[in-house]
Symmetry: C3
Subunit: 184 residues, 3 copies
């Protein structure tokens, strides 16, 4: 992707390497953008797996073969989802609701981060700083999911994982706002 | 938009058509990007209509002129939304909650898909494959909304519509992750 | 950022200013894109502050030093969040739920707007119209948060703020759909 011949070729045509960089920021020629692509993909996959984890929690006693418990624990929000006639619609299973809160927290934090990080790439940041921010933010959210939805762990762990991505997003917001302040 | 003169002109300057393609992926010159734009627009409009559908459900007995029922069925979450003094705040109307679950499911699936599909366009995919994926994914989610929130239908239909977009998103994630794996 | 030398230089190479504009839409050379970046950053920061506002509401009686009330009002959704042994998990505190509804409304409206506005920038809109739409939409959502979650105000205010961004998003959707209709 990062063909040195290609870069030389374009430099000959334009005589202006730094302006050129602006034009190529959102292409696979930009390592920072590639790093963003990879870790954003990881986080998208993680978010989609939350839906499957919710479904797994709804079915889990069934999967363990504990049918009598399943009748009591099956917690589907819609009437057409009930496979046994003698179950009622439930909304308050603690395991399902925990996964759903984790999923909602993902939406509240990861989706704005996607836009913020994409915008941050457009400001041509220092590659070393940007790539490491992407890595730390993605790993922090994976830890957040593990300690929140998969295996609950006492409190400081989840708050630290939550704060890591939030602080990174605020840092990116500050960088972008300072660069674009005169277009207010 | 896709001016052949323009393409020839640039090719003369750069002598490298495939690298050039990278630079133009996120413009209206790229038919794959235009196809993404159109179907993303359709899905954004569909998501916004969910808010109006929720409001419609909150008011629907009022709209039918059944004022006595309206007093019992009006289900607004905030006290300042109550237009009659003798109604209480309610949170458990099944029709409203069904639309809200459908809306939340949209957010959980469509918003990560927007980012994933945009990233996928940046990897310069096969136009025929990419455009058909965009079309199928968008239509699947419209079907999902119809069978979930507008007219509830027995179960396999909703799961199939849900799985279609999820599998497409996972496919895109796999393509992008393989392309950008060395930037981990 | 907008170096006139650079623009002349490229014009010499391409002999086609309007096509060039397409190539540069998603760079800091495009004032419309910079305006989008600034106001999107403001809205991302506003959304993240909603998480902190929710946390503040959960702790607010604690912060005021009213410990006996805190025991009754502390409303954490997870058992590991309880710092006193004699409190039960609660989900129905009206102040916390109001902030959470405002946050969910943000996700329902601002996140699709981010994608829609980014797509709209790609269609090379009139700079004056586009920049003012970004400004009005962002300010409307800030007003929405103030009258919904910070200081509840009687009804027409919140609906007007909500409708402003929704109409702007629908307008952008219409513009983009008309431009890309032949790629259906």
């Amino acid at each position: 992707m990062s063909n040195p011949m290609h870069n030389i070729n374009i430099n000959n045509n334009n005589n202006n390497g730094s302006q050129l960089a602006n034009m190529e920021l959102l292409t696979l020629d930009n390592p920072v953008f590639c790093c963003y692509l990879f870790w954003a993909t990881v986080l998208v996959a993680k978010m989609l797996l939350m839906s499957l984890l919710t479904a797994l929690q709804r079915f889990r006693y069934k999967l363990l073969g504990l049918v009598p418990l399943a009748v009591r624990r099956k917690v589907f929000p819609n009437e057409e989802d009930l496979f046994f006639k003698n179950i009622e619609v439930q909304f308050d299973d603690p395991h399902v609701e925990r996964v759903r809160r984790a999923h909602r927290n993902d939406m509240e934090n990861i989706l704005p981060y996607f836009i913020m990080a994409l915008i941050y790439v457009c400001t041509n940041p220092n590659p070393l700083v940007a790539c490491n921010l992407f890595r730390v933010a993605a790993i922090a959210r994976i830890v957040h999911t593990l300690v929140y939805a998969v295996y609950p762990v006492p409190q400081p762990s989840r708050i630290l994982a939550f704060a890591t991505m939030m602080l990174i997003t605020f840092y990116m917001a500050a960088v972008v706002a300072l660069r674009t302040l005169r277009f207010i």
